[in-house]
């Protein structure tokens, strides 16, 4: 930004806000963040008060059931939007689940984060022991070699990532980019599987961002992924797997 351009922005905006009318500024100060009140769909008596949504599989049909442990709420929320939840009690067991998915998809190559990036030591080795190979997502930034290399990666059926956090209310996995943590592993492929340690579950996006603001700009990208890619553009009819993965699996790892 040139100094002149910045000064212009300051002047124009500064002049405007001095005369504008901004109703509604009362209420909790946004900087003293309080997590919003519990967004439960059940009343005090525990009776489900949610009406049935028009579209099967929309988020709103999930019975959120406050008071349940986070992992149960996470499972209910993700399953309600057609995500699949697996449970594993060891890294080896997680590897078996991934191998099972790869077998179903008829592939031996997986687009994946590195072991260190996932903070799941031994997972890669356990996958290799099961005959799977990990594909390096290195792509030339420019030139004619780039599109075919990208197309190669996009042709892989399965992507594997870790997760920096999970959101119980919404069934979301939160992924920060970084070395060994490619965005493509959760984006280009038709099926994405994320390994989420149970102790990384928090309640919601607002609690995460209020308590872990440091995650936001830790890498060039932080994304909360809430179920499979979807659209309802045509007649509000739900359809999955538009641009991102049409299938999302989360392996809850009890570490």
């Amino acid at each position: 930004m040139t100094p002149a351009n910045r000064q212009r922005m300051r002047d124009v905006t500064g002049r405007a806000v001095r005369t504008g009318l901004f109703p509604g500024g009362v209420g909790p100060h946004p900087h003293d963040h309080q997590p919003p009140p519990a967004l439960a769909g059940t009343n005090d008596a525990g009776v489900d008060t949610l009406p049935t949504a028009a579209i099967p599989g929309t988020a709103s049909t999930a019975p959120p059931a406050a008071g349940l442990p986070r992992r149960e709420r996470f499972r209910a929320a993700l399953e309600a939007i057609a995500g699949v939840v697996h449970e594993a009690s060891s890294i080896d067991q997680a590897a078996s689940i991934v191998a099972g998915l790869a077998e179903r998809l008829g592939t031996r190559a997986i687009l994946s984060w590195t072991d260190e990036a996932m903070a799941l030591p031994g997972l890669t080795a356990a996958l290799q022991a099961r005959g799977l190979s990990i594909v390096d997502p290195d792509v030339p930034q420019r030139g004619d070699a780039r599109p075919p290399r990208l197309a190669e990666l996009a042709a892989l059926p399965l992507g594997l990532t870790g997760a920096d956090a999970g959101l119980a209310e919404t069934g979301s996995v939160v992924l920060a980019s970084g070395p060994g943590r490619s965005r493509m592993a959760s984006l280009l492929v038709p099926v994405h599987v994320a390994v989420l340690r149970v102790d990384r579950l928090v309640d919601s996006i607002s609690t995460l961002l209020a308590t872990r603001g440091d995650l936001v700009a830790a890498g060039s990208n932080l994304v909360a992924i809430t179920g499979p890619s979807r659209t309802a553009d045509i007649e509000h009819t739900l359809s999955r797997g538009v641009h991102g993965p049409g299938e999302v699996h989360v392996i809850l790892l009890e570490a």
Binding site: M1, M9, R10, V12, T13, R15, A16, V17, T19, G20, L21, F22, P23, G25, V26, G27, P28, H29, P30, H31, H33, P36, P37, L50, A53, A54, I55, S60, P137, A154, L167, S177, P179, R181, R183, M184, I205, S206, L209, G213, V216, A217, G219, S220, V223, A224, I225, T226, G227, S229, T231, D233, I234, E235, R240, G241, V242, H243, G244, P245
Partner: protein, 472 residues
């Protein structure tokens, strides 16, 4: 942003004859409202979060100069570039020059209302760049040479048969390709993948900028926003200057209300936060990261009594809820921004003369204010703009003349009573069975589709005088 030449009432009449379009709008609005209602039910137990969201918007805008400054500093700290565009032309020129300098060939675009507002695509296409809209709805709009009719659901006005026709005509799709919505979705995925893989520039809109981290957030369900901002080597975010929140904590609150209110989801599928170009060691992400902050009339609105309309987070709920929008669809508004929010925003941004009819496209029922996740008082501003229209001389001559006559009569009780009696007699002659079927001249519009009740034989004053036997 330009108004179309056809007068508003003609556009409405035209829209009302499009039975198929109206069915599509009503059908889809109904379904959208239903799923939305279910998601909002979770929030309705407490309006506190909406108050909190409103307070965030209010406080941010009241100190927007400081927040923008912080934002720009932090985007640059992350390695990004910021440009403040005072006009739409400035923004278009910046992007066009950037694309030329970097030798760009193919541009993929995520959904951006600002880019529609400043009419970016035609300029880039004229310059020979291949520009591809990648949101499914926007893609169909682009293929069909049509315009979006809803800020969140661009093809609300199209049936699935309309979409099938577009794919067959423009892409040569087979019957199997368009057999159903899932098949059309897969067809679009296959076609647009090719564009994503070769694109060297990505452009998206911004849902929220975060000042303290210098980040931009884009919320999509399809994943096209993520692809557009991750694969091409140059990325440009186009952000309306008001679209900021101060902190990450504030962003959390806004994301909670946006998904629920916009599409009836607790959270959009991809809540995607971008902080600068790819970092050393990262395998993907753009080499260059540009944020274009667009004013284009916003600072003028910010300085006015209408600043509250800039609280809007573009969820589209007020469109679905509006009885007028449900009848006429988005195109009749003749502006990029339609529905209740558009009826305020369009004249506020482009001037009352360009859109003086739109503030009248409302019954003032208040449904928009009721559903708004940040509780914007849209009816208040519609009334304010109606008054502005009159002050600007945009009301028809016969209306202002009529008002003058009424004002003159109203301050002269005898004349007022006399005129009342004359009008009642005359109306009585025109009526049959207590109803007037046809009013003369300019008033004929009223009786075009309904009858007008004949006035009572005696006026209120006459009855009052009779009952109390005294002077009126």
């Amino acid at each position: 942003m330009n108004a179309v030449d056809v007068p508003f009432y003609r556009r409405v009449e035209d829209a009302l004859t499009k039975t198929r379009m109206r069915q599509a709008v009503r059908h889809t609005s109904g379904r959208a409202m239903e799923s939305r209602r279910a998601a909002i039910a979770e929030l309705d137990s407490s309006d506190a979060i909406r108050d909190q969201a409103r307070a965030i918007r209010s406080r941010t805008l009241a100190a927007l100069d400081q927040h923008l400054d912080t934002f720009a500093t932090n985007v640059e700290k992350n390695g990004g570039t910021v440009f403040f565009a005072e006009t739409g032309e400035d923004a278009v020129e910046y992007i066009r020059r950037l694309a030329r300098d970097r030798g760009i060939r193919t541009i993929v675009k995520g959904k951006s209302m600002v880019s529609e507002e400043i009419e970016l695509n035609p300029v880039l296409e004229l310059d020979g760049f291949e520009v591809v809209e990648t949101d499914l709805g926007e893609y169909i709009v682009q293929l069909d040479g049509d315009k979006p009719s809803h800020i969140v659901a661009p093809i609300l006005h199209k049936t699935k048969e309309d979409c099938a026709r577009v794919f067959k005509e423009k892409l040569g799709a087979s019957d199997e390709d368009v057999a159903g919505v899932p098949q059309m979705t897969q067809l679009a995925r296959r076609t647009l993948r090719k564009a994503f893989l070769k694109a060297d520039m990505g452009i998206t809109g911004v849902n929220f900028g975060v000042a303290e981290t210098g980040s931009v957030t884009i919320c999509t369900n399809e994943g096209n926003g993520r692809l557009s901002s991750s694969l091409p080597r140059v990325y440009v975010a186009m952000m309306g200057m008001e679209r900021l929140v101060p902190t990450a904590a504030d962003l959390g609150v806004m994301l909670e209300v946006l998904g629920r209110s916009g599409t009836g989801q607790r959270l959009t599928v991809y809540s995607n936060i971008l902080s600068g170009p790819r970092r050393p060691g990262e395998a993907d992400g753009p080499e260059e990261f540009h944020v274009v902050i667009v004013d284009n009339g916003r600072s003028k609105v910010l300085a006015s009594e209408l600043a509250e309309i800039l609280y809007c987070i573009r969820c589209g709920a007020c469109l679905y809820a509006c009885p007028v929008y449900q009848q006429i669809g988005g195109h009749a508004y003749g502006s990029v921004y339609s529905g209740p929010v558009g009826s305020v925003l369009s004249p506020a941004l482009a001037g009352i003369r360009a859109f003086h009819d739109l503030p009248h496209a409302s019954t003032l029922c208040g449904a928009c204010r009721e559903v708004c996740p940040v509780r914007i008082d849209i009816p208040r501003m519609l009334l304010r703009l109606r008054a502005e229209g009159v002050e600007a001389g945009e009301s028809p001559q016969w209306v202002s003349l009529g008002m003058k006559v009424l004002g003159w009569l109203g301050t002269r009780p005898r004349m007022f009573n006399l005129a009342g009696r004359v009008a009642a007699r005359a109306a009585g002659l025109a009526a049959s069975d207590g109803w007037i079927r046809e009013l003369p001249l300019h008033l004929s519009g009223w009786t075009a589709s309904r009858d007008f009740p004949a006035p009572a034989k005696e006026s209120f004053q006459e009855r009052w005088a009779k009952r109390h036997g005294g002077a009126s």
